[in-house]
């Protein structure tokens, strides 16, 4: 069947379509996926219709392995619980599933990220005197701390890819050991609870991954962008020595699925 895959050319897809397709590729068949609202919902639905039909989706409000007919706009939505194996609550999602070690993949967003994959979705500025307040963690830090792999979907901007984030909401590969505050590896801080960590960051320009030392490197650049474009939109010295090529564009079949089956109402897609 491989020869029947037809990829879209530049101009035949929108940035959002490529993000959804790239995120969907991170899902392996059989994965238990813990996803947030928005793009992650498109990605998991797309993956389930293609390479990962037996992937399972958990939403933090308590729906376990739901099979929504209509795409939800909230993780607490009745749509998430349609045909679910269980409609439980947050305690089951965060302890019965996540802390218990069932979750393979987390899909999250964030406002800022550093080169170790530490993510901020709490405040800009000093926490005690912030200049901007976001939502706060919600399940972001829990999922990122306990899923075997976590993928962040973010906007590519220099002010968002920072040497140090203003507040570490979600733990990357080098974090602080509290209450002392000394820097340590995630493996050291989590010890016997360690299960994995941030595996990829997907933006509107590129896909990033992490090396054995937990440092971010540029993996692929989306069609229409250059390595230099990415460097210009990152606020720290980016490792570009391991670029593997151009991000695969979405296929014609993926576009068909996204616009006609997954989000026909145009809730997330333009």
């Amino acid at each position: 069947m491989a020869d029947s895959i037809e990829y879209c050319k530049i101009g035949e897809f929108k940035p959002m379509d490529l993000l959804a397709a790239a995120a969907a590729r991170e899902v392996c068949d059989g994965d238990v996926v813990f996803a947030g609202t928005g793009l992650p919902m498109l990605a998991i639905a797309l993956a389930q219709k293609e390479q990962a039909p037996s992937a399972v989706c958990i939403y933090e409000a308590g729906s376990i392995d739901g099979r929504p007919l209509d795409i939800p706009t909230s993780v607490g939505d009745a749509r998430c619980a349609y045909q679910a194996s269980k409609a439980s609550g947050l305690f089951e999602a965060f302890y019965g599933q996540l802390h218990a070690g069932y979750v393979d993949l987390g899909f999250l967003g964030g406002a800022e990220i550093d080169k170790y994959g530490n993510v901020n979705c709490t405040v800009i500025g000093d926490y005690n005197h912030p200049i901007k307040r976001f939502t706060g963690s919600g399940g972001n830090s829990d999922i990122c701390s306990f899923a075997k792999r976590t993928v962040f979907i973010m906007v590519q901007e220099k002010r968002r890819f920072k040497e140090h984030v203003d507040y570490i909401t979600s733990p990357g590969w080098r974090i602080k050991k509290w209450p002392s505050g000394e820097w340590a590896s995630k493996q050291e801080v989590y010890g016997s609870y360690f299960k994995g960590g941030v595996s990829a960051v997907i933006t509107d320009m590129a896909v990033f991954r992490f090396d054995d030392t937990g440092e971010m490197y540029l993996d692929t650049v989306h069609p229409g962008f250059t390595v230099q474009d990415v460097i210009d939109n990152v606020g720290f010295t980016l490792n570009v020595s391991r670029v593997s090529g151009t991000t695969l564009p979405p296929t014609k079949k993926q576009i068909e699925l996204l616009y006609h089956t997954i989000d026909p109402e145009g809730i997330f897609l333009p």
Binding site: T37, A61, S74, G76, D77, G136, S137, F146, D263, E265
Partner: protein
Amino acid sequence: MSQPKKITLKEAGALVHDGDQITFSGFTIWRRPVALCYELIRQGKKDLHLFEVQGGYHSDLLIGAGCVKIWEGAWMGQEMLGKIGENLARKQIAGEILVDDYSHGHTAGRLMAGALGLPFFPCALAMGTDIFNPEYDQLAKAGLRDGKHPKIPAQKYVMAADPFFGRSECILLPAVNPDVALVYAPLVGDEGTVRVLSQSYNDAEVIKASKTVIVICEEIVPDSYLRADPTANLASGYEIDYIVECPWAAHPTGSQFYYDADATFLKEYNRNVRSQESFDAFAQEWIFGVDCHEEYLEKLGVGRLEELRASQVMGYSTHLKRGKR
């Protein structure tokens, strides 16, 4: 074993006292006790201490109206309908409220310990994050962790060794036992049995952890109807203290199998409350400008409510225009 007492919305509001620690049922924009929060604002409550697994429209309102002194929670916003909680953001930036951030796992664990009568909850979630940075412990900085404030634990957390199996250190988080739980549930029996019709969120723990429990419901039904299927129920009547019957009490948040979340209302709210003046104008129109809940529903109008009404088969509105197509 005593059965809950049926009271009015105004009487329910009077059960919350200035300075109380309160918590809520629901999740973000679902099954929130909104009509009761409107009533707290009309009654001019002050210095409330909110502990919530996460916030939403109901608590952002209370903060905007100046009812809240302390907010402990993991998240505040309206999901896709307005990314952040505008009132919490404005008050935190202005230094007008004490804020203590956690993760969902932490707030869910603290509440579970409170519900079970345990002193603390152990977990290993979100270690290594600024949630545990002592510099950001605003309740300590305000001198409130001195043991003289019964609802404020002496420490935000402690790290503890595993005394049994020698596993790595984990976090102990203090239990929380609020003064009052404000709960919305679609169905309550006449003897107080509570049923919700979809995800249970943290509602059972909210009920069990709190000293006084008020449930505001869509309809009171014969308890025998709920007892015919006991596996579907959330709480027993003796765990509940007061019941208020109040159709559409969760609007603009949703209640599965009754009505969808009112996306238009929530989006407009978030756009319209970015300054204190604009919040005050919103409160004047929708809270102080209506005498009672029935007047609020009349102001919303039959057409709008009919559009939100959920399918009895699917649990959500199947005729609501949600997207761009």
